[in-house]
Point group: C2
Chain length 401, copies 2
């Protein structure tokens, strides 16, 4: 077994792209055995996520699918459905981000699964909850960003709606799905009871945004505009130094007054616009302007040294290139280089959290499409002849290299 | 008990602002009893998060602290430390986002806690992992966004480093901390063993960004630039219609070809620039330009109807105001209106995930500062006279209203 808190837990993973694979990535980091069930075409992220020598292991795909095994099943075929149910007999968790109607057509609707596999935890990721009028509509991260108010927050800063250039809501909702599955596993451990869970992207993304930004409109009548002004102010941005960019965060009086001293304007601590948390919040534009103008005179490295001594929180603005060379990340073993059988030298990202009782202790690279089909079918008791026939009939793909 | 998978689990929560409160918010949604231990000054988000009639219940604060109880303890005083340890005797989980050196000074370092409370799960949120050279440095969301490459991704879109106008990394790392605690609870349920967990913000944020965007630089030598070009393209933005904005996501051939038909250019499906996923990825700028120009002619409502029929994923771009009036959110009971004792009518946000075995079934609004001090101290066996003395000596605050 792999080690980690979920050692011995088996997850059957019918997800693709980012939201579902994020959920199962973290489960696998915690030690679960994740079996990625792919259609013969494979997860679209294999190629959509960038270049790779084999054409199926883009960097993005590999980072969201490390430590998983791939079993190809063409679920349009009866034999594949049978194999999936045999697999589910051995599983603790089933995760899918397929629309409910499509799951029903495959005989994998929640009720059908729960009736057949009593202790199974069934987690369905979906664009929109089944209880509302958008249920069943397709969703992708960008649509969810637009609908949930992410683009609206950017509009306050940039003047028109813009996306965050990450699939941030796929990613965040995936993190929530992991939580839900863990909570259900805990419940099952205490009670023996499996259950089904619905994780809707739109609702979770809206909650993410509104917890932060509903703000003064959380009251009826509203006490003011929506939004945390400190975060939404166009001036709340990295600050230009003599040779680059820096970010600072001086919220408490101690931090703000130390910053005023560092930029040679200690008298500002007595300025009624800046002498308390509330005063600075009310005069956030002026406060940010003072900071911005004060930091032009020295280099980023000079400021980092000065501000660290003054205990004012500050950090460099990394590019992606400089981030990969960050010395702290090297200290903590953030990256791992492996010699990959087809891709050459490859950079892997480790789970950065430390558990005193240990996390997963065996690391395997992201799988080839169907790389473990034969291995898994054989574990399920299929004879070699049966497997050969399934390969011949395109029920599965033997993707070993 | 509250119901939900964590019913009966007690969490002692020494966190403030967003990252820690997010972690414990989700634990409380799953049914845990969260006791928020505050200094006499209280969580700075009470006032920093916006206006409120009482001055201590900003909208932002209330959304991250619903269903928690507040116990004020001035941990500089010996009697407060004693009370905290009495509380920890009854607890399953301890969470803090205080710097390790400060925790040590309070006698709340990991080793001290684990020695005294064997079954306790100790989760420390920190800016930077203890194994690296930035350990112990202060961190806030904006600094982490700058250091982890969020601002660098925005620089590719906007020409210079910008923050995402949400405390997105506080929020995301909080979601990860919830996972870690749930995994440790599961482990303890199976083995009886408590443990300590370190959750560093910088490392988790860097992993969040790099899993998405290290891309072609995941290989040595690199196969190309970093970054998912589809997401980073400045044209990958909401699209202007006749009367507003819309977002669409047409990734598969089926979706792209249906979109071409909808905008009256069905012949583009045979265009070698657009006739496959790979072709559109290679010609992403041209593809986005075609989409943008094609959508100007009709209103958002017209397009939504057309695109829904064509099964092309699309959605409106909500403002925060229109989001709060979204009919699907109303259908699923996303918001709840309560009559608050001091704040008047207040809008609460519900956890949107559905568990067939149930989630927390009692909802309480975010606490006043020290609102449950007397109640909790009395549960711990303190006599009324002792509690009165603690209030008088400013060891605690009786914040009942």
């Amino acid at each position: 077994m792999s080690g980690g808190p979920l050692a011995g837990i088996r997850v059957v993973d019918l997800t693709t792209v980012v939201v579902g694979p994020t959920a199962t990535l973290f489960l696998s980091d915690y030690g679960a055995e994740v079996i990625k069930v792919e259609s013969p075409g494979g997860d679209i992220l294999r190629s959509l996520g960038g270049r790779s020598k084999s054409g199926q292991l883009s960097g993005k795909f590999t980072h969201f699918n490390r430590n998983k095994r791939s079993l190809v099943l063409d679920l349009k075929q009866e034999k594949a459905k049978q194999a999936l149910h045999r697999l589910l007999e051995t599983a603790d968790v089933f995760v899918a981000n397929i629309r409910p109607s499509a799951l029903d057509r495959l005989g994998l609707g929640t009720d059908a699964l729960r009736a057949r596999h009593k202790r199974l935890i069934v987690c369905n990721l979906m664009g929109f909850g089944t209880g509302g009028r958008y249920a069943g509509q397709p969703a992708y991260d960008s649509i969810i960003q637009g609908m949930s108010g992410v683009a609206a927050c950017n509009a306050r800063v940039f003047g028109e709606p813009k996306f965050v250039p990450m699939v941030m809501m796929d990613h965040a909702v995936g993190l929530i799905a992991t939580q839900c599955i863990l909570a259900a596993l805990f419940h099952r451990e205490r009670t023996g009871e499996g259950q089904s869970i619905e994780v809707p992207m739109f609702e979770n993304a809206s909650a993410f945004v509104l917890c932060e930004h509903l703000g003064d409109q959380s009251f009826v009548p509203p006490l003011g505009e929506w939004g945390d002004r400190r975060v939404l102010d166009p001036l709340a941005q990295p600050i230009q130094t003599k040779d680059g960019w820096i970010c600072i965060s001086a919220n408490t009086d101690g931090q703000a007054f130390a910053l005023f001293a560092a930029i040679g304007q200690p008298e500002l601590k007595n300025d009624p616009r800046f002498n308390s948390v509330k005063a600075r919040y009310a005069h956030v534009k002026e406060y940010f302007t003072v900071r911005r103008e004060g930091l032009r005179a020295k280099t980023t490295a000079e400021w980092l040294e000065i501000l660290q001594k003054a205990d004012v929180p500050a950090g460099r603005v990394h590019t992606i290139d400089s981030l990969t060379e960050d010395e702290h990340l090297a200290d903590v073993g953030f990256f791992r280089r492996i010699e990959h059988p087809t891709e050459g030298v490859k950079i892997e990202i480790n789970n950065p959290n430390k558990f005193s009782a240990g996390l997963r202790d065996e690391q395997t690279p992201a799988p080839f499409l169907g790389g473990q089909s034969v291995e898994i079918l054989s574990e399920l008791g299929y004879a070699q002849g049966e497997i050969d026939e399934m390969v011949k009939g395109n029920v599965t793909i033997d993707g070993r290299r």
